[in-house]
Symmetry: C2
Subunit: 404 residues, 2 copies
DNA sequence: TGAGTTTGTGCCGCAACTAAACAAACTGCG
DNA sequence: CGCAGTTTGTTTAGTTGCGGCACAAACTCA
């Protein structure tokens, strides 16, 4: 028991501290081969080999011993690394104004299974979360996969350390609902194993995009997105979400972007919230806004379908200018090296990318000396994948401890 | 050579990876005894003992074996840890509009020796830096201490990775001056050993206050300060300076704090820069501003001496309201758990702390749920100490490598 | 004086590496 | 086809930083 039993046994027992970083590299696709893993980790081939073998033994990754096709380079082809398809999953859930959804997400941000989106969001968080977790548990039973945790994305700031939803404005939940506790309770009741986490949807979008989408490789990533109403922001610094001392960072909705603008419920005027959200776009374009839960779709459709209409185009340009002013302010404060936009902001960027980039470069102090790249979000269901990232984090930090 | 020679030899060879964290704990005063060091590092007593012994052997700290007085607690008294007075120093320099200064700074932020401040700053950075480094080298020769690096604080944003001063507005240096290279060259020419670093003065003030002053123990520290003209900001996140992807973060001077305010050279109106700096205070108080390089002193003296004067008081209150608006905007974006103010902002805070705290709490979104503590800077020569921190950083990261 | 408490130290062992030599799997050239 | 050259994987033998444990030391308190 205490001696060195066999060679295999010895290998399985080593490689602890580099295990997490190695898994994260494979998870984010930055280590496609063992050779790359070796250089990215900054360790010897022996260590990288042992670490990869242990991750394979844990059922997390796959090591392709017979690649056959590694054209171009000389030398012995490297074994390919990939996340294991039949490996464990986490339960991810998201609640938006236009419905809620549950999914199983594997390593690499791969959505294994998902429920159809439900459209009605009830006013009682416990009821909604009970239903969404129940749907996720059903998916899990059907799949037969191992579950190592659960994550939830909500359209509200989530206060630390208590985990309450401070402003679930777009859904009819009471402010201050203890969403983290409710979600944890639902997860436990459904018999799902592993810890449960809850976070703000824009934060989780940023995290997902940083790991698997348009934010890959960015050092300091700023993400700004609209829902149906209002604007949210998020910041990923050196690969870690920055949510502030009490989870309330990047509440960017009340930056002033138009001194003569619309009054805002915060007491100011011309806040980013009321000047660049879907409702602002529709009213500026002189269209009748539809029901609250479809404003984002209505605005996006209008922007894409009728960009030739002068009123629509004018409204888009006005919003782009306001958004650019807000982004420039954030650039001056945060100095990110990449910005990604979601929701209607993403549509505005795609409608006239040059205009937005010009405004940001013009109004940010250091815009001339190399302006910041501004990109659209690329992932489908990004806040769902972000919720999964939250749940995967303990495994990425210490695979042995998290799977024990 | 290869075997275990003696017990002492074995001890000297161990304890590498925890060495840096341990030194940082002693350096910042968070590990007054070996027992505290043990728990703060999260290691066993054996390891902490070995680490402390090695730091002592390196000539960095002192381990008091005979304390004699540890009243209150039971049990064997712990050995006291402190930085070694006769240990190595770094050369720290600062350049401000009202003069430049050099100093020797030891571990713990202790100023060992300093030159008298020189008042005339020439337009040629090479000349100024040559003089200040020369003065520092003279101090060093006189002291006979070992020098392990050099740090410089300048009143300008310093771009990364090239190390150029982007806006040395208050001193007559050309924008884009390669201050880091110039400083490095001067340091090498003066025969000073160790690497040379250059940073923005407000950034370095924040770093110094976080390690040795009013920011001690803060998780996310925001620092805002005025010089003679304009406003600077800095952010320390989890103990590390956040200066953005290209060193340009926290350029907070162009936050809008008064939509109907003074025009600013940035193209906007009512920026923090032009609404809350010493010149704004003097003109609001209807006083004749003196020479540029003494605006800060003039404004501070006026505020302290004539606060009873209605015009002065009104000006102070107006500036406090504007500053509060700016700080509230920053709180919404950064969610720090402490704010410290320097320059005239410090004086404004001390003139009416309640008013400023009330404005910030009222205008920041989450002010009600526990407002952010706002404190004045406490360290004398804080940007000088901050420049020293920059130079100490390699030693704190890896004492063995840095002293080799 | 002795029990209880807390801290420092020596010793053993081990987990997690590195270094170096060797084996394997490819490319490309003659 | 065979052989050099290149890159990658594996094995073996250290090295090292640290935990665990036992014990000694230095105090307080009864």
């Amino acid at each position: 028991m205490n001696g060195k039993a066999t060679t295999t046994r010895t290998k399985l027992e080593r490689g602890r501290s580099a295990l997490g970083p190695a898994l994260e590299l494979v998870h984010t696709g930055r280590a496609p081969t063992r050779a790359v893993l070796t250089s990215e980790l900054g360790v010897t081939r022996a260590t990288a080999g042992a670490v990869a073998a242990e991750l394979e033994a844990l059922g997390l990754i796959r090591v392709d011993s017979s690649p056959g096709s590694a054209a171009g380079s000389q030398g012995r082809p490297s074994h390919r690394l990939s996340v294991l398809e039949a490996g464990p999953v986490v339960l991810a859930a998201q609640v938006h104004a236009d419905g809620f959804r549950a999914a199983l997400v594997g390593l690499g941000g791969r959505i294994v299974a998902t429920t159809p989106g439900c459209v009605a969001v009830m006013a009682d968080p416990a009821q909604v979360l009970g239903e969404v977790v129940g749907a996720g548990a059903a998916l899990l039973r059907a799949s037969g996969l191992r579950c190592v945790g659960a994550g939830l994305a909500v359209p509200s700031a989530v206060a630390e350390p208590d985990g309450t939803a401070l402003n679930p404005l777009h859904i009819a939940w009471p402010a201050g609902s203890p969403v983290r506790d409710i979600f944890s309770a639902c997860v436990r009741e459904a018999g799902i194993t592993g810890p449960a986490f809850t976070g703000n949807d824009v934060n989780l979008t940023a995290l997902a995009e940083h790991r698997h989408g348009a934010g890959r490789g960015a050092q300091h990533l700023l993400c700004v997105a609209t829902g149906h109403r209002g604007v949210g922001g998020a910041l990923v610094l050196d690969g870690r979400l920055h949510s502030g001392s009490s989870g309330l960072a990047l509440e960017v909705g009340h930056l002033t972007v138009n001194p003569e603008g619309r009054p805002c419920h915060c007491g100011g005027r011309g806040c980013l919230d009321v000047e660049t959200d879907p409702l602002a776009f529709l009213t500026t374009a002189r269209r009748e806004p539809g029901p609250e839960e479809s404003l984002l779709k209505q605005a996006g459709d209008l922007l894409r379908a009728e960009y030739d209409d002068p009123a629509v185009r004018h409204a888009a340009e006005e919003l782009i200018d306001r958004l650019g002013l807000g982004l420039a302010g954030l650039v001056n404060i945060l100095n990110p090296d990449r910005i990604i936009l979601g929701g209607l902001h993403r549509d505005l960027l795609e409608a006239d990318p040059e205009r937005l980039r010009a405004v940001v470069a013009d109004r940010s102090l250091w815009g001339r000396s190399g302006s910041v790249p501004i990109l659209p979000c690329t992932l489908a269901h990004n806040s769902l994948v972000g919720a999964a990232e939250l749940a995967w984090q303990p495994v990425l930090d210490d695979p042995l401890a998290a799977l024990a």
